[in-house]
């Protein structure tokens, strides 16, 4: 380790370049991983809280509603089913337009929107989107579900949103993965180049050590340690930049992801994230150092 630290002190700019490249790489990987985890959580949130809404005819009675809810809740893959009456629908509408005085006024002041014009409904929560066809089938068979002007049962479900979100998540993952692979390759090659240069510049010293009886592992050990130091420092600083970016973006992200991701992010998650990126950084640097030293060992045979 002493030799590795001395090597770093002897060529501080090379060491700085290596650490900066690792830092940048880990920063990008860290950000990508956070975005990937975040988008996955958002998707999961939509997937695990899918609501299928069936609007009911005005002439339904509570016995029919009870039967339908019983049928739904006894079906596998359905979490729960609740009845929303016309009055409850009006309350929900008022809550949803609470920030819009004109629309709210249409309910409270002018009486344009009343409970009579809003349909009662049944909201169904499925365990996952694969249960949607079953839910929709049950609702379509029910006589109390309203028929829209197109002649179809009046049922809403967010299949399109989930499809779009899945596409988006896949796109983020793919583009992120390509980006991560490219910068990881750049980082890998930078460390390989720096370590190779250092070995080349000490060829004479290494030659002497070999004549003194040094084996390959003794010779390459300080260079591997040096690569690990780059990996550790780069990984550490890269994650610190990740953490700072997360702190600064929290006020912007938190309200938009309210209910899906809880802010501030838990210390457990941060610790796992830190350990993961640091492990990755150490692995990448060690592998790059091993590659450079193995090339040297093969050439020096």
């Amino acid at each position: 380790m002493k030799t590795a630290l001395k090597n770093i002190r002897r060529s501080p700019f090379q060491a700085l370049a290596a650490i900066l490249v690792v830092t940048f790489t880990i920063f990008i990987i860290g950000i990508f991983s956070l975005v990937a985890i975040g988008s996955r959580t958002i998707l999961l949130s939509f997937e695990t809280k899918p609501q299928v809404i069936a609007y009911l005819k005005d002439d339904h009675n509570m016995s029919q509603v009870g039967n339908l809810i019983n049928t739904l809740t006894s079906t596998e893959g359905i979490k729960n089913a609740i009845y929303i009456s016309k009055d409850q629908a009006l309350e929900l509408y008022k809550q949803s337009v609470a920030n819009d005085p004109v629309l709210l006024g249409s309910v409270t002041d002018w009486g344009i929107v009343t409970a009579d014009i809003l349909p009662a409904s049944i909201e169904v929560t499925a365990n996952n989107p694969s249960s949607f066809p079953v839910v929709v089938n049950l609702l379509e068979q029910s006589e109390i579900v309203n028929v829209n002007p197109q002649g179809k049962k009046d049922i809403d479900f967010p299949q399109d949103i989930i499809t779009e979100l899945t596409k988006l998540t896949t796109a983020i993952r793919f583009s992120g993965l390509v980006l991560v692979l490219i910068i990881s390759l750049v980082c890998f090659l930078t460390i390989v180049t720096i370590i190779s240069m250092k070995i080349a510049s000490r060829r004479s010293e290494i030659g002497t050590m070999k004549l003194l009886g040094a084996n390959n592992s003794f010779i390459v050990k300080p260079y591997l340690q040096e690569a690990l130091i780059y990996g550790f420092l780069g990984g550490f600083f890269g994650w610190i930049l990740n953490f700072i970016a997360l702190l600064y973006s929290t006020p912007f992200i938190a309200p938009r992801l309210s209910g899906i991701i809880s802010f501030p992010i838990s210390y457990t998650f941060l610790a796992i994230h830190f350990a993961s990126v640091l492990g990755l950084s150490l692995f990448m640097s060690f592998f790059a150092g091993l590659f450079a030293t193995t090339r040297f060992v093969k050439r020096s045979k």
Partner: protein, 244 residues
């Protein structure tokens, strides 16, 4: 201990540097090999540490045929043979202490004992308090002493000194010879190549003369005359600086 049996070494350009050489070195020998430049003195040392491979013949060291030693075990062979290089091969950006300790690290000495041993070695070769100096801060004779200390650091069975007095003044050369004799007296087999015949006469060591890779004379290991040691001659002279 060491046996060269009909060893020939030639280079791809056709130059034969060692020609059908037969040589036996017994434990505790002090052998001085002389000869002109290109006579094959250094090649013997390089063949011994398997830095070169002979084209023909067999080299036995410690009962083992060097040809049968796999590449992975060459470092182990080299740890048994201390080598003092003609060009010192002292690492310039390491201190004298670090240069010596690296040989101990290579040999796998316990890190806690390395410092103690380095100090002892430097005292033995007459370089106390020079441990933290860099080679460029030392005179030629001092660097050579440091290289001797490095070569014997790991207690090798054999010490091969390649022209250890090549660029040194007479006084320093005698001191280096004395040091090598002292190392030999402690039980280490010493093989020294040199072109300085005058100094060899002082020691009455076994003297081998090489010419074009062949042994043309071998005194067969004469004993040193106790009343005519180099040490006594140096002691009789006024104190002189080792620095050039």
């Amino acid at each position: 201990m060491i046996e060269f049996i009909n060893v020939t070494k030639s280079y791809p350009n056709g130059d034969v540097v060692i020609d059908s050489l037969d040589l036996v070195v017994n434990p505790g020998d002090f052998i001085v090999i002389t000869g002109k430049s290109g006579a094959g003195k250094t090649t013997i040392g390089r063949l011994l540490i398997k830095d070169l491979i002979p084209n023909k013949g067999k080299i036995i060291f410690d009962g083992e045929d060097l040809a049968k030693i796999p590449p992975k075990k060459i470092p182990l062979l080299r740890r048994k043979i201390g080598f003092i290089f003609q060009d010192f091969k002292i690492i310039p950006d390491k201190t004298i202490g670090e240069n010596i300790s690296i040989a101990l690290e290579i040999a796998g000495f316990n890190p806690s004992k390395i410092q103690q041993k380095v100090t002892r070695l430097l005292e033995m070769v007459g370089l106390p308090k020079k441990e933290n100096l860099f080679p460029m801060q030392l005179a030629g004779g001092e660097i050579q002493r440091a290289s001797i200390a490095r070569a014997i650091a790991a207690d090798p069975q054999v010490l091969f000194a390649d022209e250890p007095t090549g660029n040194l003044d007479e006084q320093t050369s005698i001191e280096i010879f004395d040091l090598l004799k002292k190392i030999n007296a402690d039980g280490t087999t010493v093989i020294m190549s040199t072109h300085d015949v005058t100094l060899i006469d002082l020691h009455k060591a076994r003297h081998i003369t090489l010419q074009k890779g062949k042994i043309i004379s071998d005194t067969g290991g004469k004993k040193k005359s106790p009343e005519n040691t180099t040490k006594e001659k140096i002691d009789a002279k006024p104190e002189s600086k080792t620095k050039k």
